[in-house]
């Protein structure tokens, strides 16, 4: 069944677009706090009931979360015949848009502090 519906082109394209949006606007599905060893849907820093110190919060897994879900659902819905009509050249831009989002997300590390 998977072979007839799942289109790799749809999966890769949707994953890339959603991941780029996630990192650009910082929309993690969930966060991970390695110091506590704990996952959380929301930002624990905003939750007064959680005693500190929280340690660093990781969004990377959460950014991939939305991308995976969106890509899987879309790839399962759109029939393969239609999905395979996505021209291959579209994938030339995928790395470019992801890296653009990555720059927006991470530029704080190369700009002057407070810049």
């Amino acid at each position: 069944m998977l072979n007839s519906t799942f289109s790799p082109r749809v999966f890769s394209l949707v994953f890339a677009v959603v991941y780029t949006l996630d990192i650009t606007f910082n929309w993690p599905m969930f966060r991970y706090y390695p110091f506590l060893g704990k996952f959380s849907w929301g930002d624990l820093a905003l939750d007064p009931t959680v005693p500190g110190p929280l340690g660093p919060s990781m969004q990377w897994f959460g950014w991939m979360g939305w991308a995976f879900v969106a890509a899987l659902v879309t790839a399962a819905i759109i029939p393969k015949k239609i999905g395979n009509r996505i021209p291959g050249v579209v994938f030339y831009i995928v790395p470019i848009i992801i890296m653009a989002g990555a720059y927006i997300r991470e530029k704080e590390f190369i700009l002057p502090v407070g810049g």
Partner: protein
Amino acid sequence: MIAFWDLVHALLAIGLLGAVTHQGLSVWRKPAPARAFIDRFRAVNGGGYANAVCVLYVLTFALGSFIYPQFVLDVKGSLIDYGMRKTIFLFQLKEHVAVTGLCLLPVYWHFWRTVPLTEDVGVRKYLTTLLMVATWWNLVVGHVLNNVKGLV
């Protein structure tokens, strides 16, 4: 124990690097008899590597994800204290480069194993070269960061 997983991550990355570099160089090679060592390195049957590259990429990615929290705690924190922000930026890019490769893996496999090899040659060449460059970038940056501060 984290040092062990870091080592396994590095070894898988080397296997991936070998496979994807063989394949990446082969897509740029004009068909001709191969005599010199470099030529034979490139004169491989590219199609045969697609499955191995996918398996090795996913395994390397999974292990990288597994040791990443410890990196955030031990290494990234120290680098911030040292003020080594550009070094952190390098690793943050590695994070996104790894996801770029992961998300393109299905369509990379698709163009090698489903689409006839005579079609979309340019796209196949681009995707394979991209995965090769991404793997090299991640290995070098990972090695640089490991040299700055390891996972002990």
